[in-house]
Symmetry: C2
Subunit: 430 residues, 2 copies
Amino acid sequence: MAQRLDAREAGFAQAFAALLSAKREVSEDVDQAVRAIIDDVIARGDDALIDYTRRFDHLDLRPEDLRVRDEEIDAAEAQCSRETLDALALAKERIEIYHRAQRPQDSMSTDSLGVTLGWRWTALESVGLYVPGGRASYPSSVLMNAVPAKVAGVPRVVMVVPTPRGETNPLVLAAARLAGVDEIFRIGGAQAVAALAYGTASVAPVSKIVGPGNAYVAAAKRRVFGQVGIDMIAGPSEVLVLADAHANPDWVAADLLAQAEHDPVAQSILVTDSPALADAVEAAVRRQLETLPKAEIAGASWRDYGAIILVESLRDAIPLVDRLAPEHLEIETQDPEALAAKVRNAGSIFLGSHTPEAIGDYVGGPNHVLPTARSARFSSGLGVLDFMKRTSILKCDPGALRALGPAAIALGRSEGLEGHARSVAIRLNL
Amino acid sequence: MAQRLDAREAGFAQAFAALLSAKREVSEDVDQAVRAIIDDVIARGDDALIDYTRRFDHLDLRPEDLRVRDEEIDAAEAQCSRETLDALALAKERIEIYHRAQRPQDSMSTDSLGVTLGWRWTALESVGLYVPGGRASYPSSVLMNAVPAKVAGVPRVVMVVPTPRGETNPLVLAAARLAGVDEIFRIGGAQAVAALAYGTASVAPVSKIVGPGNAYVAAAKRRVFGQVGIDMIAGPSEVLVLADAHANPDWVAADLLAQAEHDPVAQSILVTDSPALADAVEAAVRRQLETLPKAEIAGASWRDYGAIILVESLRDAIPLVDRLAPEHLEIETQDPEALAAKVRNAGSIFLGSHTPEAIGDYVGGPNHVLPTARSARFSSGLGVLDFMKRTSILKCDPGALRALGPAAIALGRSEGLEGHARSVAIRLNL
């Protein structure tokens, strides 16, 4: 079972530091291969896409087959159950409402010197959304990536999704249509990332690429960064449940396992001031694992990376939470708001016993693309701002230039940039 | 002199595409060396810092000398002219006011289903600011990086700056104090980046590293990314001046040269609908180069990367501007606001003839750390948001969970994540 740490015992600091620095990512060295694929797509365009799709996805395509046709999406929708489509529609609506509130304000004003200044936000021209094929092909992730882009006002959202042996997840296509995705291509891997970054005859290039993928996709995104923007590189997922003696151990156990079933390297941690709860949760995890379909994955995750940390008081837990900076933080205590207010580093917080993290994965409204592997110390979940950029604006009238010019000249000269100074001085006859 | 392109001539599309794809960055392959330095700092801490500082900066330090002392900053300030210190203070005040307006709003509300949701912004715990030594050691950049961090509320801002042979730029120390920098260390290169990311006995680690540097610093930042956050990797700087027949050719030429004097790989471009202005600017550039102290650098930049592009009408210029996505865009035309409103991609816009870009470099208020090398298509200049992160918050009451639960269960099952479904179902006795 998961390891136990006790903050009241000697050696805790070291054990906690070891937990913090445990490497959960398997880093495959695929950079060589990825570089060759990208260069080939730049050189040969669609032909390279078709060759790699034959090799990796065992699928023969003509250039005109690269793009998924509307009739195929119609057919996919028809395959989905009404119940699931309704659930997707509810999710889409709630995600849209939450993200609309994130739309930023422009600012423009004129100060007492006569300087008009501020900024303007604009949407990116185009965005590419990578959706993995196979096991990790989640319709909910399509919504979480595409809806904020559309709320931001991105005119062209392009989805790529590999369809190994022609297999498509119908719900992924349905989610794409629901979210307003404009183009869908049945390509994946580093070749799809290269096509989005550099363009081919069939795939026009985009300004930014988002979405999760395997080691090849991640390496390709790192490599094309600069040519286009990219989102964060997602690591394995984690949850930290902070619970007191009043929490329901079965519910807590279910939440820990919901995280653990994602991946053998997912991490579920319980922090509690109640030794009785710790024992009860541990027993409940064991019991629930017996009937969980993904027991093998979840069991491995809990055994290898799970942890139960006992603290003297819940207040002592806050510095531990901040150092772990969990992607998901559930607070199942008597006064969750008071504890939440003290936390600095967490990707998302789920308050109270009736907010299992799975609600946030699907239909809560907030984004489920969140900073992993302690990066909540310095980054945020995906949002509307990731699909917009800010242009600063400055205008001096002649009086404003007279007021500010001498200081600019002085600073330019102090930095040895006489050309800077002269570009101001020439306008002031100085 | 700079190349001329004419949008009305055959072959323009190709020539413009070549201008867009011209590689201006010299990519040194320093990754091997940087990896070794970082590993050594992780292993040996201060000892490694001291060794590398001896080797690269020709400076012998004891551990207690790594940090710059308050008395040294006092002494540095005393060396600066009153005029320059006053100019710095004006710059700091204006940068602070501009960035205060960028502080984001938290959001929290309860919807009709009983779901309480929103988000909270918090400042990063600590930030490291890299300041180059030597020629590119700019006090204005200290302000542009440190002031937004302090406006964001970062409690601990740490500056590193190499001092080759013990040489310090007094204005850099004065600017650091003015901006509220909390700690200054006289270290540079990959070893300084490693110290900020991983910590040593003398340098506590930070959450994010910002600021420009040479190829070693850039490679080190890429390598520690993940362990800490980093800002964008800055490329060579550029300006695009959009001007009509009414613009003053001497002023335009001065602005083009102010950009060009930064770096032989800086890029200055004039786009105009007036052949007469094009000729007059070209002549003025030649004339002004004769007396410019940095004529060698500016002349090389103008010769190798400068361009004058003639367009039929100013409206035709907009798609070219958007494809170039310039770091700095000056609009010196009769109605600059109307043209600015049509631009999607630019890091910053300077409106009218009385707003030379140098004002924005120093005392305008907006940040001068801006997206280079066409990255304004997908990214923004430095701002307060770069020093904060957003935590999403979700709370369901029992009724809200009953309302949303079934949809979450359906979606969890549709994705093969039964554990997700069960974490909801167990609370609803489903």
